[in-house]
Amino acid sequence: MKRFNYFPGCSANATGKGLGLSVEAVAKSLDLELIELEDWTCCGSTPYNSLNEEESILVGARNLALAEKNGLDIVTPCSSCYTVLNRDNNYLKENPSFRQKVNTALAEVGLNFKGTIRVRLLPEVIYHDITPEVIAQKVKYSLNGLKVASFYGCQMLRPAGFENPENPRSLDEIVEKIGGQPVNFPMKNRCCGSSMVIAESKLAYRQIHKVLKNASDNGAECIITPCPLCHVNLDAYQGAVNSAYGTSFNIPVLYVTQLIGLALGINTSYLGLNTNIVSPAKIVDKILAQGVKSGT
């Protein structure tokens, strides 16, 4: 059993409900003990950093200092929380004079940032600490050649990622090991349009359209992503993008953990698949129709 401080992020219980649920379900099967960080607050994400850089690092420092109490590394399933908390952690470690100011402020609530833990992204933990090989041993339903486009997005890879950001492979390897067929997907490491979908929707729609078209052109039966913001854009806005571009994409978008969960034979109701807007029913049926793989 590997233990971590769990930082779900604000989306995991709202627009990213399917992420929160599937992470909990899959973690159990993979012997990960995720201890939710008590009284965590929002990481601040891009908006806080953009309005007040220094104060946003302070907000991150509170979460990091809370996690340092038990000394366990933080793991978050959200690419944005990962990028932000990692940046805060590194900046505070590297800048003692700034850290001192932050600690004076944190003392008001009895906390202190020491710089003793790491911030990690859940898919990275799954890939390195669990490994695709071990997941493969636990597979109950092979994906049976399902064509999967792995959308890494940005902040899993940049700036703090653990693999080649120009040609990431980790998710494709996991897909392969659970019986799926990774499709060629040059847009896999590009931007989904981010939170621009709210205030600069044209810009975001253009990105979403490019990603969906690229997956569709390469014959993907579904897209997977680790990130709740990418998921909202590709799944919830797929209809709006179809209207804007006169297209008729109907590609289910699953969280990495939802797809792994299906292969592990976890009951679909625990994976939050009913929260997906583009219905994944077709691929779920395809995976489950083959019956339990023998010998596992």
Binding site: T15, S45, N52, L203, N274
Partner: protein, 182 residues
């Protein structure tokens, strides 16, 4: 000290702007930026303008507010300049001096987002978006209604915010921090 020197000094003193002097104006950032064509000034040009001391033009621009934080430029910059972080630093400076960008409402979206954190400790996505749409462009709220309805029907739009005790901590530490920074 001339104003040319002082603006780049000011940017270089921010967390995000600390590597700005390493820029060699190669333009990889602009060539790689998925939002570059939509920006008033490209990332490379913004850095040149900072060096030229064009504080007013830079801080009143909408360019950095269209950065999607994809970090492609950050990753590909051969000099480690971190243009993505420079964008965030410029947005923060523009906010500090009260500049309102022309031609984008993204600054207002960010404000709704951060206010939601301050009020609840965690972002309440529905509340944040409603507030943004109602105060800036109610018409686009109507256009977005189908997306919101789908999210709601799929249990992804809790109506009530998740208010946590930590919001009181945030108020205390930010107040103290502002005092220290003066």
């Amino acid at each position: 000290m001339s104003s040319t020197v002082s603006f780049i000094d000011e940017v270089a003193a921010t967390p995000g702007g600390r590597n700005i002097r390493a820029c060699i104006q190669c333009g990889v950032c602009s060539g790689t930026c998925p939002a570059g064509d939509d920006m008033e000034y490209s990332p490379r040009r913004i850095i040149a303008m900072i060096r030229a001391g064009m504080k007013e033009e830079v801080l009143s621009s909408s360019a950095m507010w269209k950065c999607m934080s994809c970090y492609l430029c950050y990753d590909r910059c051969p000099r480690g300049v971190r243009p993505t972080e420079i964008a965030h630093a410029l947005e923060s400076l523009a906010t500090k001096y009260g500049y309102k960008p022309r031609g984008t409402k993204n600054d207002k979206m960010y404000r709704s987002f951060v206010n939601s954190i301050k009020n609840n400790g965690r972002v309440h996505e529905v509340g944040m978006m409603m507030k943004y749409y109602l105060t800036t462009c109610p018409f686009s709220a109507l256009k977005m209604l189908p997306v919101a309805v789908q999210l709601f029907l799929h249990k992804r739009m809790p109506v009530k915010p998740e208010r946590v005790k930590g919001r009181e901590d945030l108020a205390k530490i930010t107040r103290k921090f502002q005092q220290i920074r003066g």
